[in-house]
């Protein structure tokens, strides 16, 4: 049914009309915002309008806009419930329209992504937005500079009040070291998992209790001063990787439709995609269509037991890794064990509180995604492995040939890498490799393919880029990487890379392998002094 073109056309037309109304709607929001401080009824109208928007935007693919509208609606509701309105929150609300507009653009760009193949090399949308709440100016500017060189968009939050907007950021870094800092007791850190972006904490104290406090606030990283910035960047990247690949997918297998509906509600509220099966005959079919990352399974159903169904799932090699969690009223530990021995990974005992359900599912899903990602990718950098990047290159070259579009390939090699390993140790060498891979990943576009080709060698495939585009892009990355300061055992040092670029222009297809040409150009770059780019086309570099 989703392939029905007539339906698609109708939905697209409705979506277009919704989009038109959206502009008016945002204008109305602006008007209401302007009246907030003077007219008490404006707040109520604002809440109602935000509520509508929260409900409709997601249906039409404006997911982020809808989510933020929902947060603003909740803020407005809190104000309506409060005896004394909070001036700071009102001020924040009065920019509701202004907060939503950029999201509209972002959602639109995201929707248009598949058509953006030839959009050149600048891709503002790719930049992740990191918020810093750091008092110390030196540290803040140093961090801004480093993260900026990795391609992040960095905003320094002026005060803890600005934490209201934390959910709109992609990551948050806060410094809890000023004496008497009570930042971590801010209500924003008391939310359920999944509501806050990845949080990294900087502290001047390296004690168990300061780490514990960080964990309790939901931190995914903890750093003491002086901060190792490339290491921090790596942790930041890891925080994102568990969020990549869209919302988690959870399948509920339960014959109690009432309970299922409730679980579904709790999970979808936290942004998890949920599907349900009440008829076990449809289970495998549903698994293949939905590809769940976690299965929640009732232990006792009328015709089958949970462990039986779990074993049926496990008969299929595709599903060996998917965690199966039983939902059960069974509190007898022995019987729980015997169920787990047959198949399955965990138990949640009914009655299940919303937060237990959410936490268990979230933890399992996160873990499952990390494991399956780790298996498919290079363990050090998280990039495609040698064979996979070659395959991607062939695919892109074929595609380019068919569509008469250019494609470029860059072969990148870290200079004097052996010296880094010899002087500072292999762990430090690994950090350098990771830093470069993260920088490339951040700076390249979503459509670009990036792989670790060998020890310190990377390959980037850039569809839609001609030789000049590729050169310009790589040159800016080369400069940024060269400016990056590494530290090891109290010593500071810099690294560089050389790169060879080859391109196939739309109208002049060379038969020779792109990769071989890039490799030759790389060799020339190395020969002529390193820390530079060479092209295979004889153009002076």
């Amino acid at each position: 049914m989703p392939d029905n073109p007539q339906l698609q056309a109708q939905l697209a037309a409705i979506e277009a009309r919704f989009r038109q109304r959206l502009d008016d709607e945002l204008d109305t929001l602006d008007d209401l915002c302007a009246q907030l401080h003077d007219d008490p009824s404006a707040l109520r109208s604002l809440r109602d309008r935000l509520h509508k928007l929260a409900g409709s935007a997601g249906t039409f693919g404006y997911g982020e806009l809808g989510r933020v509208a929902r947060q603003l609606e909740q803020q407005a509701q809190t104000q309506l419930d409060a005896k004394q309105p909070d001036a700071a929150v009102l001020t924040d609300l009065s920019s509701a329209g202004a907060q939503l507009r950029p999201l509209l653009k972002r959602d639109e760009q995201r929707q248009a992504q598949p058509q953006q193949l030839d959009a050149g090399i600048s891709d503002e949308d790719r930049h992740r937005h990191v918020g810093l709440l750091i008092e110390e100016d030196d540290l803040a500017s140093q961090m801004t500079q480093t993260l900026d060189s990795f391609g992040y968009q960095v905003t320094r939050l002026a005060s803890p009040e600005a934490l209201h907007t934390a959910a709109q950021l992609d990551a948050l870094i806060i410094d809890t070291s000023p004496p008497g800092s009570r930042l971590l007791s801010h209500p924003v850190f008391q939310q359920a998992p999944g509501q806050l972006p990845p949080l990294l904490i900087i502290s001047s104290l390296d004690t168990f209790s300061s780490r514990l406090q960080a964990v309790r606030a939901g931190a995914v990283g903890f750093f003491t001063k002086p901060v190792d910035l490339p290491l921090l960047e790596r942790r930041l990247e890891r925080g994102f990787s568990s969020q990549q690949g869209g919302p988690f997918r959870v399948l509920i297998v339960d014959d109690d439709t009432e309970l299922t509906a409730r679980y579904q509600l709790v999970l979808s509220n936290a942004g998890i995609r949920v599907d349900t099966v009440s008829d076990a005959n449809l289970l495998l079919d549903k698994m293949h269509k939905f590809i769940p990352e976690v299965v929640l399974m009732d232990l006792n159903m009328p015709e089958y037991s949970g462990p039986e169904l779990a074993q049926v799932i496990r008969l299929d090699d595709d599903w060996l890794r998917v965690p199966i969690v039983y939902l059960s009223a069974e509190t007898n530990a022995e019987r729980q064990m015997s169920a787990l021995l047959k198949a399955g990974d965990d138990f949640i005992t009914k009655p299940i509180s919303d937060s237990t359900l959410l936490t268990t599912v979230y933890a399992r899903a996160q873990r499952a995604r990390m494991v399956s990602d780790a298996l498919a990718r290079d363990s050090l950098t998280g990039l495609l492995k040698h064979a996979d990047i070659k395959e991607q290159l062939e695919l892109e070259a074929e595609r380019a040939k068919r569509s008469h579009a250019p494609v470029s390939v860059a072969m990148i090699d870290i200079d004097h890498f052996k010296n880094v390993n010899d002087s500072y140790g292999h762990a430090c060498g690994d950090n350098v490799i990771r830093a470069l891979s993260n920088m490339l990943r951040q700076r390249l576009r979503k459509v670009d393919r990036l792989g670790r080709y060998g020890g310190e060698e990377f390959v980037a495939v850039l569809p839609g880029c001609n030789s000049d585009d590729a050169y310009q892009l790589l040159e800016s990355i080369r400069e940024a990487f060269n400016a990056l300061q590494f530290s090891s055992g109290g010593q500071q040092f810099h690294c560089s890379f050389s790169a060879g670029i080859s391109a196939c222009e739309a109208d002049a297809w060379a038969d020779e392998e792109l990769l071989e040409r890039a490799d030759r150009a790389l060799y020339r770059a190395k020969q002529s002094g390193r820390n530079r780019l060479c092209r295979d086309d004889g153009v002076p570099d």
Binding site: F18, R21, T59, V266
Partner: protein, 128 residues
């Protein structure tokens, strides 16, 4: 079990009204009557004789729960399941809607492709 054919959708947001209509008519094959207010829904119930009502919770004028109360006074609505649609999705609210006699709750934003499936599941559950 009688097959579900006629659905009344009460919703003041024209975009949602439109997309739900297409979703229910084209994907689900239902006959849909859209009403843009609780009052309009109550007025149209007799002639349309819905088998199921999809009802927005937050509407100006008569809101969802008030509309439900009015609908329940009509003989034509006897035994007709009413499903609330809402962007508010706290568990306690859902429990409250159920206490009002709602057969189910559908959360906005919804996926037009699976809306009919969700409604059919609630219908089947009502008639199981």
């Amino acid at each position: 079990m009688t097959a579900l054919e006629r659905i009344m959708h009460i919703e003041d947001d024209p975009s949602i009204q439109e997309v739900a209509r297409v979703a229910l008519e084209v994907v689900g094959g239902f006959t849909v009557r859209s009403c843009d207010s609780g009052a309009a829904g109550v007025a149209a119930a007799d002639s349309f004789a819905p088998q199921l009502v999809l009802l927005d919770v937050m509407m100006p004028g008569m809101d969802g729960p008030q509309t439900l109360t009015e609908l329940r006074k009509l003989p034509v609505m006897e035994g007709v399941p009413v499903i609330f649609m809402t962007a508010k999705a706290q568990t306690q609210e859902v429990t409250a809607y159920r206490a009002l006699g709602a057969a189910g709750v559908i959360i906005k934003p919804f996926d037009p492709m699976t809306l009919s499936e969700q409604i059919r599941a609630i219908w089947e559950q009502q008639h199981a």
